[in-house]
């Protein structure tokens, strides 16, 4: 009995294997690493939705060089060692051709050296630390999203316009918050040498786990500034805005700039509790651009998921198309060919035209800022008016980034 079953199995496999081999056309494999679990899993969920939409669209219109895309998603949990394990799984187990992802700046910074060792191209879509296209950059790592330096540069252009002279900050007490403030001081000082900044011990850096911001709000308000630059994000930002508005923070005594205030997950959660008329920035704003591509992206995304795309959804979506463009330019999906094709690649993504700079692999991309405004057509605050800062005006020159990529081979 056993023998018979075995022989049937063998025969079957002989019949089936060639059949499968013929019909399973080779695919292009893309590995995605995002935060899928824990406190910040909302970011991973958005990114996954954006990536899936892009993969569906590309596959429906014939794939990349005739090959379909297959997406693999792994959970980084926002921790560097777990993220690296996830990336290694994608590279060694799933044998992906391309990596896309990374939310946390700290994770990106510590994982990047390993990307170089695995010799696989990667497009970062969210992590904003200038260092991954700066001091720790390498020839395999690209970034499609707006980085910290670009966004802060845009903020300082805006800050100069407001005319406020004395600035302070509220930012999360980790590298992102501190770097944001450093860049803000540096750029604004360049633009207007007359500006003053409160010393380190008078600005507010609440630890990341803070839920009660009242002490910091008190501290900032009592220092009587003309302008406050806020780099809090996510849950911190939501808590801060609600507590600050009851304490009279937004009564107009000073200018307030939120570098990540226009993130859709924040606006959705706050709804009408977000005060109107505040300057907020983001890495992508779904209404900033009237291009056909953006309209189709926002339309399809909303139809499929019932919400408007966040910047993280946009980053993942755009990165898939960037890979497609590179593969078509190189007429290959071979890893080194992709790296070469991505260098200097100019293309359109929903947010506008971008260019992956040869020198540091950072995408030169526009920054969007706007004033919060109520709208009957949307479930949350929108931006009105919108200010668009052109990529070339806000991207620091390669010489300033500290990046030196040994290109070529």
């Amino acid at each position: 009995m056993k023998k018979r079953a075995l022989s049937i199995l063998i025969v079957l496999s002989f019949v089936l294997v060639p059949f499968i081999a013929v019909h399973a056309a080779p695919t292009v494999k893309i590995g995605f690493t995002y935060i899928m679990s824990g406190p910040f899993s909302a970011y991973g969920q958005f990114a996954k939705q954006g990536a899936k939409l892009a993969i569906e669209e590309v596959n429906a219109s014939g794939g990349i060089n005739g090959q379909k895309i297959e997406g693999f998603f792994e959970d980084s949990t926002g921790k560097a060692d777990v993220a690296l394990r996830a990336i290694r799984k994608l590279v060694y187990q799933n044998k992906v051709d391309m990596l896309i992802g990374l939310d946390s700046s700290g994770v990106a910074k510590t994982v990047v050296p390993s990307i170089e060792k695995m010799q696989i191209p990667m497009i970062i879509t969210h992590a904003a630390t200038p260092d991954v296209t700066g001091s720790v950059c390498n020839k395999y790592t690209f970034r499609i999203s707006l980085n910290l330096a670009q966004n802060v540069r845009a903020a300082t252009l805006l800050a100069k316009e407001t005319g406020a002279k004395k600035w302070t900050t509220v930012g999360p007490d980790y590298a992102f918050g501190h770097q944001s403030w450093e860049y803000f001081e540096k750029y604004l000082k360049d633009l207007n040498p007359a500006t003053t900044f409160l010393p380190k011990d008078q600005v507010a850096f609440p630890p990341f786990k803070t839920t009660d911001f009242s002490a910091y709000i008190t501290k900032v308000m009592s220092s009587k500034p003309d302008g406050v630059f806020v780099s809090l994000w996510g849950g911190n930002l939501i808590d801060f805005v609600r507590q600050a508005s009851t304490m009279g923070f937004f009564n107009g005594d000073f200018e307030v700039l939120f570098s990540l205030g226009a993130a859709t997950e924040v606006l959705t959660a706050l709804d009408d509790k977000m005060p109107e008329g505040l300057w907020v920035g983001t890495r992508y704003w779904f209404l900033a651009n009237d291009s056909a591509m953006n309209k189709s992206f926002v339309g399809n995304y909303h139809k499929k998921y019932g919400v408007y795309p966040s910047y993280n959804a946009h980053g993942a979506y755009g990165a898939v198309y960037a890979y497609k463009a590179a593969a078509e330019k190189a007429k290959s999906t071979e890893k080194m060919a992709i790296v070469k094709a991505l260098e200097g690649l100019k293309m359109e993504i929903p947010t506008g035209m971008i260019e992956f700079r040869k020198g540091d692999h950072q995408a030169v991309t526009d920054a969007h800022w706007g004033k919060t405004a109520a709208s009957a057509d949307y479930p949350h605050r929108i931006l009105k008016p919108i200010k668009i800062f052109k990529g070339q005006d806000i991207t620091p020159p390669v010489s300033e980034t500290g990046c030196s990529i040994v290109s070529g081979k």
């Binding site: 406190p39 909302a42 609440p206 009660d212 002490a215 501290k219 849950g235 609600r242 304490m247």
Partner: protein, 286 residues
């Protein structure tokens, strides 16, 4: 001067919230000898259930009443079917079991309500601001400052002046003797865990108008309430009160004087107290 006053108020309102969560933890430890890692998750559950009940009844007060009670049901199930089995086991097993409960509750809530942020509005009567020494201050924070001692006081009187309270205290001193004089100790344990759950969930519901709701919100608060309990003395009510006040005020004033080391404040407090008084502020030496 205003800064001093405002920081005292900030410290008090944060401290009183910590106090509510810590008394639940300390009661459960005092009676059952279990350090409940999932206490923060019950806190989180309270906030979510309050939000849900609030949407259902369209009233914050109903949410505050119903939400924590629903959490109690889950707490009782956890005690009856899981915790009961590890009372006599080493503390590391208890920690691991309650950690497993934490994982299940946190991820379960995420599966039900999603990973996005939610907010809860305070009721209109507590939504405004009042002026304190020329500074605007939210009414809801005064409410928190007042409600903490009220609930703490009620519980303290319950334990000291009612028959049931005395029975529970008896069981906490010596469960074998209590069993001997005819007290149903397992029932007492279940009741005490239900009480602890209710306190955690009430803390969550009360903090809901104050902070955004995410499934991991309990993980932030659990370590600080551990610290309050240890600093005050495990199982001690007045200890939890003083510990919460001290920690709340230190963290509030830390924003002014501690600079970059403010995140270390709770741990410095913890280590310092344990070195000076190994059993915490309010507990007799063993």
């Amino acid at each position: 001067m205003e800064i001093l006053l405002l920081n005292i108020l900030n410290g008090l309102s944060w401290g009183m919230l910590l106090f509510l969560i810590a008394i639940g933890l300390t009661t459960v430890f005092g009676v059952m000898g279990v350090l409940n890692f999932a206490h923060g998750s019950l806190f989180m559950l309270g906030a979510y259930l309050c939000m849900q009940a609030m949407q259902y009844f369209d009233s914050f007060w109903f949410g505050l009443l119903v939400g924590p009670l629903c959490a109690v049901v889950i707490g009782v199930l956890v005690e009856k079917y899981l915790l009961k089995k590890v009372y006599n086991r080493d503390v590391s097993y208890q920690l691991l079991l309650t950690f497993a409960v934490l994982l299940i509750l946190d991820d379960g809530v995420r599966m039900i309500w999603g990973s996005g942020y939610h907010i809860v509005e305070p009721p209109a009567i507590l939504g405004g601001i009042i002026s304190v020494a020329g500074q605007d201050y939210p009414v809801y924070r005064f409410f928190l400052i007042v409600i903490g001692p009220i609930i703490g006081g009620l519980l303290w009187s319950f334990f000291h002046f009612t028959k049931w309270g005395k029975i529970i205290r008896a069981a906490s001193f010596d469960d074998i003797m209590a069993e001997g004089v005819g007290i149903n100790v397992p029932l007492i344990y279940t009741a005490v865990f239900a009480l602890g759950t209710w306190l955690a969930a009430l803390g969550g519901a009360l903090s809901a108008p104050q902070q955004s709701l995410i499934p991991s919100m309990g993980e932030k608060i659990i370590i600080e309430s551990f610290i309050v309990v240890v600093v005050g003395g495990m199982g001690s009510f007045p200890g939890a009160f003083v510990g919460a006040l001290v920690l709340g005020l230190l963290e509030s004033f830390g924003t002014v004087f501690a600079g970059r080391m403010q995140m270390a404040i709770p741990y410095i407090l913890l280590a310092a107290i344990l070195l000076i008084r190994p059993n915490g502020l309010f507990r007799k030496g063993v």
